[in-house]
Amino acid sequence: MTNPLTGYLLVAALLFAIGLAGALTRRNAILVLIGIELMLNAANLNLIAFWRYGPHPEMLTGMMFAIFSIAVAAAEAAVGLGLVISIYRHAKTTDVEQMNRMKG
């Protein structure tokens, strides 16, 4: 690790991969959403890292991006979990493997 940026980027990549793994392998729909949240957070970390170590941090571009990302992620989480709840009410399960009504 020759520079701190690499470290943060690696951590972000690792977090992203873990979140992806969770989203791809867990059966519960909520855990898929958890994985997605982790991926978003990893992306936020990337943004902040690049803001900090990139040129012109006084422009606040990275910070702003991250803040908006947080806001949007919150909204998305709300809607997604609401969907999961409504699906649960309908299908009595949150198992993604059983939700294949869109089968081709």
Binding site: I30, E58, D95
Partner: protein
């Protein structure tokens, strides 16, 4: 100038900050112990969130991961982002996740396993993604135009930016949040009405 203002709390923080900076500038370990610790926390929480069987434990682990990330933000001198992370993610999203788990009886252990039958494929794909990203990061040349200079970000500046340069995204995000709010309510409510009939 002198020391930047961190939310008005200068004194206890100043020391910590100085320690961090000093440790950051020493020797080969460019990032320092603190970074590794916080990273470990974040990554561990994330792993736990993904691997645990009990969903509530997963949600709590997720909270830990969020906290870790918030600390990483703080270390990156993005105090506002860090606190926003805590406020929003830990304070709202994690609670929301817990609520969802509770509402969908996620605490009950499922009959079949928690992992899908083809979890190896998913793991492999995630590993591939990590490999690609890691490789990109590692083989990129050193490029740190702003290593040591600490950006002095005040809330005032952030406010100015929000109202100035980023006013449009701000408004749009406001609309988005409203829509999300309404949408979530409708989705939950609509279903209730439908089942009643």
């Amino acid at each position: 100038m002198g020391h930047p203002l961190y939310f008005g709390y200068e004194h206890p923080w100043r020391e910590f900050d100085r320690f961090l900076r000093e440790s950051a500038g020493k020797g080969r370990l460019a990032v320092g112990i603190v970074f590794y610790l916080i990273s470990a926390v974040a990554v561990g929480g994330a792993l736990a969130a993904v691997l645990l069987k009990n969903l509530v434990h997963c949600a709590l682990a997720l909270t830990v991961a969020f906290l870790g990330l918030a600390l990483l933000f703080l270390q990156l001198d993005a105090q506002f982002a860090g606190f926003a992370q805590i406020l929003v993610y830990v304070g709202a999203v994690a609670i929301l996740v817990v609520f969802a788990i509770l509402l969908t009886r996620g605490s009950d252990l499922p009959k079949e396993g928690v992992f899908s039958k083809s979890w190896v494929v998913g793991l492999a794909i995630a590993a591939a993604v990590f490999a690609v990203l890691g490789w990109v990061v590692l083989q990129a040349g050193p490029w740190l135009p702003n290593e040591t200079a600490v950006p002095a970000v005040t809330v005032n500046q952030i406010g100015q930016a929000l109202m100035g340069r980023y006013v449009l995204p701000l408004e749009i995000v406001a609309v988005l949040l409203t829509a999300a709010l309404l949408g979530a309510v409708i989705v939950a409510m609509h279903e209730k009405e439908g089942t009643k009939q």
